[in-house]
């Protein structure tokens, strides 16, 4: 029998970048069925879609939308980070890359929140 690591070993920027990428991906995958269901309202007529869209104007739903934009931005930036790690020649700037990805995600989410 062998033991794995606990959070003390995992607590470093590269691992957190992995966690953010993985969790945002799973959360977006969980959101997709809801997204398609909402689009499917249109098949039942403009009125059904319109009434659903009115429902999404509630502050709490708007707040949840902001969360989805944050997840999308984080997953997008995390994906670009992985592509850079895998395909560019590099040595010492992996942490800067994670920081840039985090900054991009927050900037995109803030821009969306301010634009609401």
């Amino acid at each position: 029998m062998r033991r794995g690591n606990d959070l003390r070993a995992r607590n470093h920027p590269g691992y957190w970048a992995f966690v953010v990428h993985r969790v945002s991906g799973l959360a977006l995958a969980a959101f997709l069925p809801l997204h398609f269901w909402a689009l499917g309202r249109a098949l039942e007529g403009a009125g059904r879609l319109e009434s659903f869209l009115r429902w999404t104007d509630q502050p709490l739903v708007k707040f949840a939308e902001w969360g989805i934009v944050l997840l999308l931005a984080a997953h997008f930036a995390g994906g670009l980070r992985i592509l850079a790690l895998e395909f560019l020649s590099w040595r010492d700037w992996q942490k800067s890359l994670a920081a840039v990805a985090a900054a991009f995600s927050l900037a995109a989410a803030l821009a969306f929140a301010l634009g609401l």
């Binding site: 029998m1 062998r2 033991r3 070993a9 995992r10 470093h12 992995f18 992996q94």
Partner: protein, 249 residues
């Protein structure tokens, strides 16, 4: 005798609370009080326990100067080379928890069984396959060439197993070759003198090879020699993909 608060502070600072793993896969931590010294390393602490407090304690070391790769242990939850880890760096509150390397079977106390770690170096075709004999001239490798620079960045591995013990993919997939073996394979894939490139790329491709890396960067974060096995693994992924596209895999 009256003890001033300052003396009491000094007394606390002059000893370390050390919890050391005892047993094999099943076991528990045993507590020791170890005198604190200037420039003391974690290996010094373990050696003090074995020589003064508990002669039955099993641990492994050889060179004490960061060359042999024998003394890696898990210190306060993080894999480290104990001979070059100063207590100052890791025991801010005066306490240490010392356990064997993770992801490997425990033989006893602080001694991990390294056999699978080195078997995987062999499985990743980690041995140089020469293409010349002693009658041939020296191979000329330009120091500034990209391949030589990639090798320079990865060649100083001492085989301590810190990366292997830090890697979650090894925990999740015990067949995974691991950062050190793949890093070794990467140095040989870059070696223009080597004659086993195809076999090596085949050996490191697949579920238990370079494609299994999740880019957690734990190996890169923890390598005491400052090597980035993640960079080498990314290079292997590119080399394997290129070979597959050319139908050479």
């Amino acid at each position: 005798m009256v003890i001033s608060p300052r003396d009491a502070d000094d007394a606390r600072m002059s000893t370390l609370d050390v919890r050391v793993w005892r047993g094999g896969a099943e076991g528990s931590f045993q507590s020791f009080e170890v005198p604190r010294h200037e420039s003391q390393t974690v290996l010094d602490v373990v050696t003090h326990i074995q020589r003064v407090l508990e002669p039955a304690l099993a641990y492994r070391f050889a060179c004490r100067v960061g060359m042999c790769g024998s003394c890696a242990m898990t210190v306060n939850g993080v894999a480290r080379w104990t001979c070059r880890t100063h207590v100052d760096q890791v025991a801010a509150d005066g306490s240490l928890e010392i356990a064997p390397l993770r992801n490997l079977p425990v033989i006893r106390d602080l001694v991990a069984d390294m056999r699978e770690f080195f078997h995987k170096w062999a499985a990743a075709r980690g041995a140089f396959a020469p293409t010349r004999t002693k009658r041939d001239d020296f191979a000329r490798v330009a120091p500034e060439s990209a391949a030589r620079r990639a090798i320079d960045a990865a060649i100083e591995c001492i085989g301590c197993g810190v990366c292997y013990g830090s890697c979650d993919v090894v925990t999740w997939n015990p067949d995974y070759l691991g950062p050190a073996a793949l890093n070794r394979a990467w140095t040989l894939v870059q070696d223009v003198r080597d004659g086993a490139r195809g076999e090596r790329l085949a050996a490191v491709a697949g579920d238990a090879g370079c494609q299994a890396c999740h880019t957690h960067l734990s190996c890169t974060e923890r390598c005491p020699k400052g090597i980035s096995p993640t960079a080498g693994i990314a290079g292997l992924k590119r080399a394997v993909a290129a070979a597959a596209l050319r139908g050479k895999l």
